[in-house]
Every structure is written in structure tokens, then in C-alpha cells.
């Protein structure tokens, strides 16, 4: 670890901290439908959308209707995505003449992008046409994020309103999130990316003549080796920057290319790398401020922010420390950090990012539900790879996905005040609302569905050598980690992977699609039920027995609840995966 590395970590975080307040306040105005600077531009577009779709923007929805409409919209967009993938070979903007996407893969991808997961069982540059990427994948990048924001705003309204039956209008919240927040930011951001070298064009792939032609020996499936001379390099192109911007800002993470944010055409310079990490965190961080504003308890928003920040720094420290270590199994190599090299574990990492920025990116992308990668998590040291996995297993509440992170965190807040209430023997209250058995039951449902999907699917995959184990790229404890990571990432709607796993099989495409849908929609329904139930309640004036939710004590309790729930659930599985691998590696064992 170097001083410069830590300086970059703190610089990044300071930037997020600095922008959280103004952006959070702006978003509160957007969702409360107060005047903003952007009304002149977006209000006409908004009205136009409502007019042709027949949406009554003044009509409020109960939590059940909010949930039903959200589900309907998700189903429609998911089916549209599936259809376009299946038909891309006869649609325009397909200069490489890519074939229709196979049914199981198309389903997996449609589920993946609808749920804000962006798990990719495919190599984009050889599978998806420019049209498919723009029209469906980038579209979902906007709307899965906007839906997340709408949902958290509905929950915040549930907390702040009293004796109300409704939570707002789903269409209005989603539209305003897209138009007022995501779209203007993305136009500026995409152009900044292009100015650094992210590509944005509709060219067919370019064919370059290699400066030094290569002799390549390949082994065919029949075991015979063939030698061929490679004289050209095909360079994949495409409308990347426009998708890259929303991929990061909407915590989606689905790469335009297979190399994702490691690819020089997606993430060309250290500056774009900083922008990408910043854009993952900035909206989720700002939403804590929005929470504070809309509930008129700004200090509570910051207390939640502090809990997130504390968990973030623990993760960065462990990941950075682990990746800066030399791999003890490699010999006659120089892995020491020096002025002329970053040293450490460079497999799967880019020279321009080195160790610090790769470890930081991995932590950020899994704290949030982004899942973009600028280095390959599968090649991380055992404890370095443990950090992204644990981040997702904690529920992606460390800033978390756009919207999804905060509503996940608020479920833990409900549990924390409930536990605090139990300790002092009083009915727990949260910002003036009594937390009763229905709320806690729904919160527990939310918390339990998550490990049930992760551990359940992993267990089934492990029991089936033909279906589950045949896809592994690494053996030993790391093989378990690959499977565990896949279902963790899918259920957590993250989308990053231990990429060695060959996931483009019927079993993985279908089971991961199921995990993604469970992890998104089965968890949203109990969350909205809590929102609806809280909105109906009366306000209880605070008394001396009320547990304050804006103090450092509350932050500590909240962090404690998150860690205890996570550790009790996942420690046994983790101890057989990354932790065992770490111990065996230290003992000099390879697989």
C-alpha cells in the first residue's frame, strides 16, 4: 500500500461527500415536485409523455397499486427486451451481422437488465448488435435505476407521511428520476468520457494490420494442435460512451464490451476511472440527504451515511491490503511496490489503474449494486475477492444501488430500532412511527429471502456435477467461491462475477435469471408493504424513552446489526471458500 494510493481513495471519497448534499437536496425538490432550474427543459417533455400515455400525474397510488404498476412495467420492458434480442438479426444497426440471441441467454439477459443486475453470460462484442445495446440494454440502465429511485422515494414518503393511504405516483416518480436526474447528468458525463477516449460511433469493427504478426498455436476440441499466423486485429467499436455513462450512474454495470471497465474503449484513463467510481456512489450517497430532507430529519440522513461510510472504508482497507501482497506461489518475479511499478497481484489488472484503483473500484462496485469491473475479481487474492463477495452479501447497503441501496438500508434501520426497543423494553419507534409486528415481519421476510436464494441455488449447483460443477474454471476452494459469487451477485442484483465460471449454459442462464428476479421483485414487495403500513400510522410525539436515530450510537448499532445478520448467515460458506483458499495458499498449495 502506498501513500499515493490512499490519497486517491480519500480524494475519491471527499468528492462523493462534497456532492452528496447539493444533489440530495436537488432530488428532494424533484420528487416533491417543487421548482427546479431544469423545469423549463424537462417539464414540457414530462407533460408530453403523460399526455400520450394517458397518465394522470395528480393521482396518487396506494402501496399495492404502486407495486402492481411497477411489476407490470417490468414485465412489459422485459418482454420487449427478449423480443428485440431474438430479432436482432433482422433489425438495423447490426454491422457485424450478429445472429439472434439464443432463447435461454436472451431470457437471462432480459431478466438481468430489468432487475438492475447486468449479469452478462455473453461476450457483448460477439453477441449483441448496436441496436440491441442501445434500445434495450441502455434503456434498462435508465429505467431499472429510475424504478429503484421511485421505490425508495415511496418508502421515504411512507416514513414521513402520517395517516395517509398513498405513497405517490409510480409513473411520475420514475419519469422525474429519469428526466431531471439521470438524463442531463448522462449527456454531460458521456461527453466527458469521449473527451478522454471512450468511443462513441456506429462504425463496423475496424481491421488493423498488426505491427508484428503473430504465430498462434491453438488446441482444438479434438485435442489436435494447429498453428496459424495472425496478421490482423479486429477492433470492436460502437456507441459506448452513451451507455457507459448510464451504466455507471444507474449502478447497472453491464459492459458494452466483455472487458467491461477494464477495456480501454470503456475506461481509457485514470481520470475516467475516477469519474466512473464517483458516478457509482454519488446518487446513492445523495439519497441519504434526500431521506433527511423529506423526513425533516437531516441528521438521521447523515447518521445513515456514516454507517455506510464506515463499512466502505473497512472494505477498501482489506481489499487494498490483500491485493498489494505478493502471490507466494509465483517465483522469480518482482512483485514489490516501487516508483516504477505498482507491484502486488497484477493478474487481471490494468497497468494504468494498478493496485489501489483496482481494489478501490472492486469495493465501490460491490458496495453499490453496480457490478462494473476494472479488474477481474476472479483473479483477486483470496481475501481480496472476499471483500466484493461480502459487500454484496451484506445486502448492498453500503451506499448500495441507486434507490435499492437505501431501501435495503432502511430495512436494517427498522431492525436496528426494533432491537434497540427490545433492549429497553419499549415499543420501538422510528421517526415518530411505532414499529409493530407487521413491519418487523415484513423486514424479516426481506432479510431472509436473500440468503435463501443465494445459499439455496449454490447448494443445488454444487450437488450437480453435470450442471453446476462442469462450468468451473478454477478448482479447489476457489471453485466454491465461483459458484457462491455467481448466486450472490445475481440475487444481490450486482452483476459482477468471478468470470471464470462459464455461465452461458441452460442451467446457469435459467437459475441465475430466477435468482435475479427473486432478489429484485420478491424483496421489493415486503419493502413496499412496510412503506404502505408506515404511511397509515399516526405520529407519536418523541418521549424520553425514544431511541434517537441521529446519534453516533445509532450508527454503531446499525453497523452492528448489518454485520451480525451478514456474518451469521454467510460465514460458514465463506470459510469454505475464500478463507480456506487463503490458508491453503499461505501453506503453498495450488489447485
Amino acid at each position: 500500500m502506498t501513500a499515493n494510493g490512499w490519497f486517491q481513495v480519500f480524494f475519491f471519497f471527499a468528492l462523493v461527500l462534497l456532492c452528496a448534499k447539493p444533489l440530495g437536496a436537488y432530488m428532494a425538490r424533484v420528487f416533491e415536485r417543487e421548482r427546479t432550474w431544469a423545469d423549463g427543459i424537462f417539464r414540457p417533455i414530462e407533460r408530453f409523455v403523460y399526455r400520450i400515455t394517458g397518465i394522470d400525474e395528480t393521482r396518487e397510488m396506494a402501496w399495492t397499486e404502486y407495486a402492481v404498476v411497477m411489476l407490470l412495467f417490468s414485465v412489459v420492458t422485459m418482454l420487449a427486451t427478449y423480443a428485440i434480442e431474438r430479432l436482432q438479426h433482422i433489425l438495423p444497426l447490426n454491422p457485424q451481422h450478429l445472429a439472434a440471441v439464443a432463447p435461454d441467454l436472451a431470457l437471462n439477459t432480459a431478466a438481468s437488465f430489468t432487475t438492475n443486475t447486468n449479469w452478462q453470460s455473453y461476450v457483448p462484442e460477439t453477441t449483441m448488435s448496436y441496436l440491441t445495446q442501445m434500445l434495450t440494454l441502455a434503456f434498462h440502465n435508465f429505467f431499472s435505476a429510475a424504478v429503484g429511485m421511485a421505490l425508495v422515494v415511496a418508502l421515504i414518503r411512507g416514513i414521513s407521511r402520517r395517516e395517509s393511504k398513498t405513497l405517490g405516483n409510480f409513473w411520475v416518480d420514475t419519469t422525474r428520476a429519469c428526466l431531471w436526474v439521470l438524463l442531463p447528468a448522462c449527456v454531460v458525463y458521456a461527453l466527458l468520457l469521449v473527451s478522454q477516449g471512450t468511443v462513441q460511433n456506429f462504425r463496423p469493427y475496424d481491421q488493423a494490420k498488426l505491427v508484428q504478426s503473430q504465430t498462434v498455436t491453438t488446441t482444438g476440441t479434438d485435442g489436435k494442435t494447429a498453428t496459424q499466423t495472425v496478421t490482423t486485429q479486429n477492433i470492436a467499436q460502437g456507441p459506448t460512451a452513451s451507455q457507459e455513462a448510464i451504466k455507471m450512474l444507474g449502478t447497472n454495470g453491464g459492459g458494452f464490451f466483455n472487458g467491461n471497465s477494464a477495456h480501454p474503449f470503456e475506461n481509457p484513463t485514470p481520470l475516467t476511472n475516477l469519474m466512473q467510481m464517483f458516478s457509482i456512489f454519488v446518487i446513492p450517497a445523495a439519497l441519504t440527504v434526500t431521506l433527511g430532507r423529506m423526513t425533516r430529519a437531516p441528521k438521521h440522513g447523515w447518521a445513515v451515511f456514516a454507517a455506510m461510510a464506515a463499512l466502505f472504508f473497512v472494505g477498501v482497507f482489506v481489499a487494498y491490503y490483500a491485493e498489494a501482497q505478493p502471490n507466494p506461489l509465483l517465483h522469480s518475479v518482482d512483485q514489490h511496490v516501487a516508483a516504477t511499478q505498482a507491484g502486488g497481484n497484477m493478474e487481471g489488472k490494468e497497468v494504468r489503474f494498478g493496485i489501489a484503483n483496482s481494489a478501490l473500484f472492486a469495493t465501490v462496485t460491490t458496495d453499490a449494486s453496480c457490478g462494473a469491473v476494472n479488474s477481474m475479481h476472479d483473479s483477486f487474492m483470496p481475501l481480496g475477492g472476499l471483500v466484493p463477495m461480502v459487500n454484496i452479501m451484506l445486502g448492498e447497503v453500503i451506499f448500495g444501488g441507486v434507490g435499492a441501496g437505501l431501501y435495503g438500508m432502511l430495512i436494517f434501520v427498522v431492525l436496528a430500532v426494533f432491537i434497540a426497543g427490545l433492549m429497553v423494553g419499549r415499543t420501538p419507534e422510528y421517526l415518530g412511527k411505532k414499529i409493530e409486528s407487521y413491519d418487523v415481519k415484513m423486514a424479516m421476510l426481506y432479510v431472509l429471502i436473500f440468503p435463501l436464494s443465494i445459499l439455496g441455488f449454490s447448494a443445488v449447483a454444487l450437488m450437480m456435477p453435470q450442471l453446476g460443477l462442469a462450468s468451473l474454471a478454477n478448482s479447489g476452494p476457489h471453485g466454491l467461491s465461483e459458484i457462491l459469487y455467481a448466486y450472490t451477485s445475481a440475487t444481490g442484483n450486482n452483476g459482477s462475477a468471478f468470470g471464470g465460471l462459464s455461465a452461458n449454459t441452460h442451467w446457469y442462464n435459467l437459475s441465475l435469471a430466477a435468482a435475479m428476479l427473486i432478489g429484485r421483485f420478491l424483496m421489493i414487495v415486503p419493502m413496499l408493504a412496510i412503506a404502505g403500513n408506515l404511511a397509515r400510522k399516526k405520529l407519536v410525539p418523541p418521549s424520553p424513552g425514544t431511541f434517537p436515530v441521529h446519534t453516533p450510537l445509532f450508527t454503531v448499532l446499525l453497523v452492528g446489526v448489518i454485520l451480525i445478520v451478514g456474518a451469521l448467515t454467510f460465514f460458514p460458506a465463506l470459510s469454505l471458500g475464500p478463507i480456506l483458499e487463503h490458508l491453503l495458499m499461505q501453506a503453498g498449495k495450488s489447485f
Binding site: 449527456v187 460511433n201 489447485f591
Partner: protein
């Protein structure tokens, strides 16, 4: 329910046009206008022939060239099939591959430890850069093969070395393709 379904379908169509078509087309128009070279991948032409992109790495194995890092993209540096090896640190294939590459490099540089980036594959498989340490490691070989002085080779390296961006971001690095193309030019002029 039926009305909500109709709304959902109409909403999907309208917003797809705005966010799936108009948005990327506007960004493409602006990008092509303002940053034409960057938006098209910083392509390099030599005598009218496309020879690569300034930010996409290429494989080099001949002794007179600076070698790039190993690549897991297709058959190596396949820019239409990017990706990493995804080998775990405990994977025998990784350990064997590194040992093989180290042995090959140490033929020219006996007894020297090889800088780690030179024997590890990048995440994209298209890393255009090596570390200054990895460039320095290869100076003696390239100078000998090209009958250039080591100082002349080092001067070329420094021309293609990028420091940390804005003085503190990322890591120092050497662009291998541009360096090797300049070496060819220097040798031709020699």
C-alpha cells in the same frame, strides 16, 4: 389493471424512443463533432493502412520489440473478444504460465526477477501499457537487437511514458505499441 397495462406498453414505447434512440444519437452527434478522433477509437494509419489504435494493445514477441503483457483476449489481444484469464491466484495453470513466461524472458536476462506486470494478463486482455519497470527490464535486449545505445532506447521510453494523470491519478505507464512503432522508425533512420 387493463388500463395500467396499456399505459405500461405506451410508456415503454415512448421512453424507448427518448432514452434508447434520441439520447444515444444526440451523444453520438456531439461526440463526433467535438472529439472526432477520440470518438472513433484513436486509430493510427501508416501509409494509408490502419495499423491499430493508440489505446488498444497489440502482441509483440520478437526480440527487437518491447513485449506487451500476456493476453487472454481470444488468441491474444483480440480486440473483438476482450477479457481476462480469470485464473485464481492458486490455479496451477496460472503458476505454470507465469513460470513459462519467466523462463523465456530470463534467457535474455539471466537471474533477473521479472516485473510482475510483464508475466500477468490484464483484465481486458488489451492493456496498451507496461510499467516503467517492465520497460527498463527490456532495454538491454532491445538496444542490442537494434544496434542502438541503451540511452537512445531509454529516451524513446521516456517519450512514451505517461506519469500519473493530473499528478496523482492512476499509475505511471509506457505505451508499448507507440514505443515500438517509434523504434521501427528510429531503426529505419539509423
Amino acid at each position: 389493471m387493463r388500463r395500467n397495462l396499456i399505459t405500461a406498453v405506451l410508456y415503454t414505447v415512448v421512453t424507448t424512443v427518448i432514452f434508447g434512440l434520441i439520447y444515444p444519437l444526440v451523444v453520438t452527434g456531439l461526440a463526433q463533432l467535438l472529439f472526432h478522433d477520440k470518438a472513433n477509437g484513436q486509430l493510427i494509419y501508416k501509409d494509408g493502412q490502419l495499423v491499430g489504435s493508440r489505446i488498444i494493445g497489440q502482441p509483440f514477441s520478437a526480440p527487437q520489440y518491447f513485449h506487451s503483457r500476456p493476453s487472454a483476449a481470444g488468441n491474444g489481444y483480440d480486440a473483438a473478444n476482450s477479457g481476462g484469464s480469470n485464473y485464481a491466484p492458486t490455479n496451477k495453470k496460472l503458476i505454470d504460465r507465469v513460470a513459462g513466461d519467466v523462463a523465456a524472458l530470463q534467457v535474455d536476462h539471466p537471474g533477473q526477477d521479472v516485473p510482475i506486470d510483464l508475466v500477468t494478463a490484464s483484465g481486458s486482455g488489451l492493456d496498451p501499457d507496461i510499467t516503467p519497470a517492465a520497460a527498463e527490464f527490456q532495454v538491454a535486449r532491445v538496444a542490442r537487437e537494434r544496434h542502438l545505445s541503451e540511452d537512445a532506447v531509454r529516451r524513446l521510453i521516456s517519450e512514451h511514458t505517461n506519469g500519473r494523470q493530473l499528478g496523482f491519478l492512476g499509475e505511471p505507464r509506457v505505451n508499448v505499441l507507440l514505443l515500438n512503432m517509434d523504434l521501427d522508425q528510429a531503426s529505419a533512420a539509423h
